[in-house]
């Protein structure tokens, strides 16, 4: 079968859901963050394949912006995690219950 748009979209959907599973099921802050990156990458793959099969480069410019924003987001998020770790000595979400009522 010839590889078309659906193939790429199915891969992207599966990858997005793997990331979602990681965010919900894992308990380590850093692994949760990596799963978030996985979800962002899945969205990028969908955008690039739509751009390719619609003959429109705007989707790839969007992906370029997403990659840049993701880099900034990772820097800020990891700095937050380090600050949190310095205060609480843990990177485990079950130990971070300060905001629980």
């Amino acid at each position: 079968m010839h590889v078309g748009l659906e193939h790429y979209l199915v891969v992207s959907a599966l990858l997005f859901n793997l990331g979602l599973l990681g965010v919900i099921a894992r308990r380590n802050l850093l692994v949760i963050y990596m799963s978030l990156e996985l979800m962002l990458n899945a969205a990028n793959l969908a955008l690039v394949s739509f751009s390719r099969f619609n003959n429109n480069l705007n989707g790839q410019v969007m992906v370029f912006f997403i990659i840049t924003v993701a880099a900034a987001e990772v820097a800020v998020g990891l700095a937050l995690i380090v600050a949190l770790y310095r205060k609480k000595q843990t990177a485990h979400v079950e130990d971070l219950t300060t905001m629980k009522l």
Binding site: H2, V3, L5, E6, H7, Y8, L9, V10, V11, A13, L14, L15, F16, N17, L18, G19, L20, L21, G22, I24, A25, R26, R27, L30, V31, M34, S35, L38, N41, L45, V48, S49, S51, R52, N54, N55, L57, N58, Q60, V61, V63, F64, I67, T68, V69, A70, A71, A72, E73, V74, V76, L78, A79, L80, I81, V82, A83, Y85, A91, H92
Partner: protein
């Protein structure tokens, strides 16, 4: 099947396998292993980008993600010295909730893609090439303002990170 189709299946399988091992690795619960498999996922996804003729994005993906972002991740993992993770068990309730929600989302998305959609109704033969020249032209002609705002965002992120990582936050 053409050679490109085989390459697609190889890269897609590699991406999904490594992505799976990032999230649920049966052999090791160490965050470093997850980070290494995330690098592999990103590299094989760059392969998929090349198959989609997005050459510039494939290069950026490897440079920014596999290079800068993952080094940052590994740096923080080494800094935090997480030994505790190995001992903790994965929570059964969290896994069940996660699986249920993932199955629900996946079902909706796949049904939309494969059953309901008319994705192929108005598709032409793909002819575009995502090389550096084409992408640069469109970036600096149509998207100049967002590009400049992005540089501001990076500056803000840099200032924020420096402020956050100061020893005594006041």
């Amino acid at each position: 099947m053409a050679a490109q189709d085989y390459l697609f299946y190889i890269f897609a399988a590699l991406t999904l396998l490594c992505g799976f091992l990032v999230v649920v690795n049966p052999f090791s619960r160490n965050p470093v292993t997850s980070a290494m498999f995330l690098v592999l996922t990103i590299v094989s996804m760059a392969g998929l980008f090349v198959l989609l003729h997005a050459f510039f994005l494939a290069a950026v993906q490897i440079l920014v993600y596999a290079g800068a972002v993952m080094v940052l991740f590994l740096f923080v993992i080494m800094l935090l010295d997480l030994k505790e993770e190995e001992r903790r068990k994965i929570r059964f309730f969290g896994l069940i909730t996660g699986l249920i929600s993932v199955m629900a989302v996946l079902g909706v998305v796949l049904k939309t893609y494969l059953v309901d959609s008319k994705l192929n109704a108005n598709l032409q033969l793909p002819t575009i090439e995502g090389g550096t020249a084409a992408l640069g032209r469109i970036l600096f002609k149509n998207y100049l303002l967002p590009f400049e705002i992005l540089s501001l965002l990076l500056l803000v992120a840099m200032v924020g990170v420096i402020l956050l990582s100061k020893k005594d936050l006041k």
